[in-house]
Structure formats: C-alpha cells, structure tokens
Symmetry: C2
Amino acid sequence: MPSEFDLIAQYFTRPAPDGVLGVGDDCALFPVPAGMQVATSKDLLVSGRHFYPDVAPRALGHKALAVNLSDLGAMGARPIGCLLGLALPTAEPAWLAGFAEGFHALAARHGCALIGGDTTRSPHDLVISVTVFGAVDPARALRRDAAKPGDDIWVSGRLGAADVAYRLLDGQLPADPARLAATRGALEWPEPRVALGQALGGIAHAAIDLSDGLLQDLGHILTASKAGARIDYAALPLADALAGLPEPVLRRAALGGGDVYELCFTAPPEARDAVLAAGAHTGAPVARVGAITAEAGIQVRDAQGRPLADLPGGFDHFGPA
Amino acid sequence: MPSEFDLIAQYFTRPAPDGVLGVGDDCALFPVPAGMQVATSKDLLVSGRHFYPDVAPRALGHKALAVNLSDLGAMGARPIGCLLGLALPTAEPAWLAGFAEGFHALAARHGCALIGGDTTRSPHDLVISVTVFGAVDPARALRRDAAKPGDDIWVSGRLGAADVAYRLLDGQLPADPARLAATRGALEWPEPRVALGQALGGIAHAAIDLSDGLLQDLGHILTASKAGARIDYAALPLADALAGLPEPVLRRAALGGGDVYELCFTAPPEARDAVLAAGAHTGAPVARVGAITAEAGIQVRDAQGRPLADLPGGFDHFGPA
C-alpha cells in the first residue's frame, strides 16, 4: 500500500518538459542555454506567520510560487522550473488538491514546471518551501547593486492594496467588507512581474521586488549600490481600492506596505521611452516615482517639494539584505 | 537596529565563489559549464521526525547538507552550490553558530558554497530545507531507470550502523552505551559519496543513495528500470560495530535500515575492475552484493542460495518515487 505521503506526491507529479528529468530520481536535471547563468531563489512560507491557516488552499498554492517567481522577475530571469518542499501536520485531500491546482496553474502560465521536491509530516506547523530556477544573461541581470545616481526610480502596478487587506483581516483597520473584497485579491493572488523583468533586461539598471514595503526594499538597492533616493510621494501609483482612506493609512500602505510583489527598478533618464514600451509590451503599468541620488538616505517629498515627515517606521532599520 | 533574523543571516553569509552572485540579491546567480546540465535536489528535515530536538547543532548542520549532497552523489554530479531555508521557533546564538559551523565545514569540503536562502520564525517546529545544485554531463548521469538485467548490484561503505544507533536512541533496542558510541557517528555524521558518484559516471548504469533502506531504495531503481534483483545476503558489508547483535536485528539493519547515505548502484559485469578502481580512487569501499534480473521483485538469498524469509516489512510497499 502506498503511504499517505506517497499519495500526496501524486498531486504534485506532472510530466516534465522536454529535455528535463523531473520528479522520481535522486535529482532533477535541466539544461541551461549557452551563455546564460542560472538564477535561483528560495522563500519559506509558514502558517500563522506568512498566511492565515484558513486561507483558500488554491490561493496559497498560487502565492507560494508567486513570491518566488517574483524574485526571478526582479532579476530579469526566464523561469525554467521549480522544486516544492511541504511540511504538513495533516494530509487532507481537498486541501492538497486545491493547493496543487493553484500552484500548477501559475507554474503553467510562466513555463515554470514543478520538477521535484519533498513532502513530509510535521508535528504542528505547515511550512512551504519553494525553490525556483531561471535563466538569465549575466550582462542583463537586474542586480541590486547596479543603481546609479541620476537614475529614475520606477514601480510597476499599483501599491497599497495588499497592506490594506492585511490590516482589515488582522483587525488593525475597522471592518469594511466592501474594501476587503476590493483589496483581498492583491494580498492573496499576487501576479509576479516575470515578463516585465525580462523585458527590462538591458534597459533597467537595478531592480527588486516589493515584498517588505517600498522604502525598505528600495533601501536594499541603495545599500547595495551605495546611493540614496528621492521619492515623489504624489507620483506613487496607489490602488483605486484605497480611495477615501485616511492619509496616515494611505501613507503607510504606499511607503511601508509589504506583500506587493510589484517591481521597483532604476533606469537612466534616456531609457524612459524604452521603460514605458517594456511596460506596455508586457501589460504592466509603470510609474516614475523618484530618482537615485549620490547622497545616502531616502527623502520622500510632497507635491510642493517639502520633505514628508511621519514616514512608516522601520524603513531605515534594515539590516543586511 | 537589525532584527534578530537579520543577525541570523550573518551566521550563514560567506563570500561567494568567483563568478557566483551569492546572498543579498533577489536571486543567486551561477554559471554552468558548457555541455553540462544542472542537477538539483531538495530535502526537508523536521525536528521530532528526522532528528531529535537535542541533537548537537553542528551535527545537524552537517547532516542537513549531507543528505542533499548524497543526492548529487547518486546522480554523479559535481556540487556547485546550495540554498538553506530555516524555519525556527527560537533563535539561540550558540545553536545557530554550531549549526552554521557544521554546515559550512561540509560545504567547503565539497565545494558546495551556500549562495542564498531564507530564514524565518515558525510557531513550533524547526524545519530545515536545503536545496543543492550540481553539474553533470547528461550522458553520464546515474539515473534510476538505467539498470539492465545482468548488471551487478554494488553498495559503497558499510550498512546497518545508523539503523542500530537510531534503535538504541529510540529505545527499540536495550541500552548499550558502547554500541551506541560505536554507531552514532554513522547516524549523525554521514559522509556523502559525492566523489564516488562522479567517478562512477560512464561506468555505472543506475544509482540511488540509501536513505530508506537497501530493499526499499533498490526497489525504486527496479521500478524505474522495469527489472528485478537478486541480493546475496552474505555479501552485504555490515558495519563492524554490529558484531554480536541477534540475527533479526542484523537482518533488519542490513536490508531495511535507513539513513545510510551510501550509494547502491548497478554496473555491467565487464566494468568490475573499473568500479573497484573508482572506489579505491575515491576512498570508498565498494562491495558486489547481487545482480539485476529480468524478472520483477527482489529475492534475497542466503549463503546456500536459499531464499531468505522474514524480510524487513515495508520493502515491497513503496509507492511512486
């Protein structure tokens, strides 16, 4: 009799793409195009910390892969495949089927087939560990240390909705079912900017994906690039669903809100048309929100050019990336 | 102030090898030699399931990487690098320093630098997720589906010590401090057969590493290769530290004992000298223990050629690999 955990493997086993050795050997094997390097990233998601235990399993399967694909996007890499590690306190078929469905659907859309992994029982916590692989021309990789003073700073998509959804669910904002309905998709179904990242190769200098909030993530670029930044607060593209919220809530969502999985990137001013074309070509709105400066630190300015006070706490508290 | 978890990252951050982009960007980047494919594997270790919570942290750091390097060895791949995911209920500096020391020491011996990963807090369970990458010529990869009827079956090293140590610690065998001292190293400090695996490329047909026990792991080769096997029980190389144990304990340790992290591989009879040379060249004892058959199933024979009864349960119960 196959064990419960052998059966679990069946939810996650799919035929491997041509030329790839997938699930079922000691290792998966995949080729890498000549001249390309392998880009790889691994994120852990832990129940009760990164997601609510009662989140829809299909959304969780989607998001577990999305946050990793977002790292490939932020590097400008083309997805090759992924590995999934699952430590599970229980094995419920309906949950597993939903999780696998959400995972595989996103994997298929991005050509990032599941080619291996490991499933085991854990005493208490549900822990999801995804590793993604992509291919990137190292000369076009969007490294964090490549921002130059004078570069424009851009963000893709809209900011703040995931943060507001999180605060509504967590009770930090008063209950508002309509607003929760309008923002929850951003929190639970982020769409990683993989195509945009690839299109920006050779155009943009540095990039990062927004997982911890704009100021904190931009700070990682600045630390690595030994530079500073000026952000024009009025230029930040807020999600429509935030309309009517008090200014402190908006400010926190825009500058400090995490779980966005949009890209923040820098590019020289002469590349503005190319950046706009890359956005249009890949269906990603892009907005120019500031500039890289030679002086360290981040200054956020209001529409009148005055430094904004009361920035979300923690943004200057980042340690090593 | 850097957070506790930023500080943790410092235990695991080391300079990346030349040509590799390591910790600190959205992705790590590494090159792959022309004509080679990437071999990758990911194993999860969960406290209370795969190791005792009070195991020495240095041993745990070693073993978390060793079981993954063992998969590269079983594929005949040369290590390139690895990612570490840690979900931790607490962050104790002494524990982290020990874990990192054991991990990095093994990584350095095998040229498998830690180039990225993720550390997070978990509510209860300590979960360790390592992903390894290696390079292998696909024409020389030791795939599970490559065994041929008539092949010899070989194992490296000695069998059974890890199983006996586990059963002594678990109370399934009566307390025996001297025997525990003689077997515990095999359980806690397995030395992955990475050099042997590479030396067997182009010589051996199929290989697997012994994590679940000889019969069960050999069974995965047989399923993938659509073949059977005959094992000569008297030829199995038992660890010296097992001398004097009752026959049922020996039999279970030799045929069903897991956590061995030696290689089981098949090679044509004309390659016997080459196999022995590969073992001698890499410091790995190798023993010929049986043969691949066209008929399905595994038959274990005693020294008189009679089928052995009372085989360890579960060996014919494997599900999908």
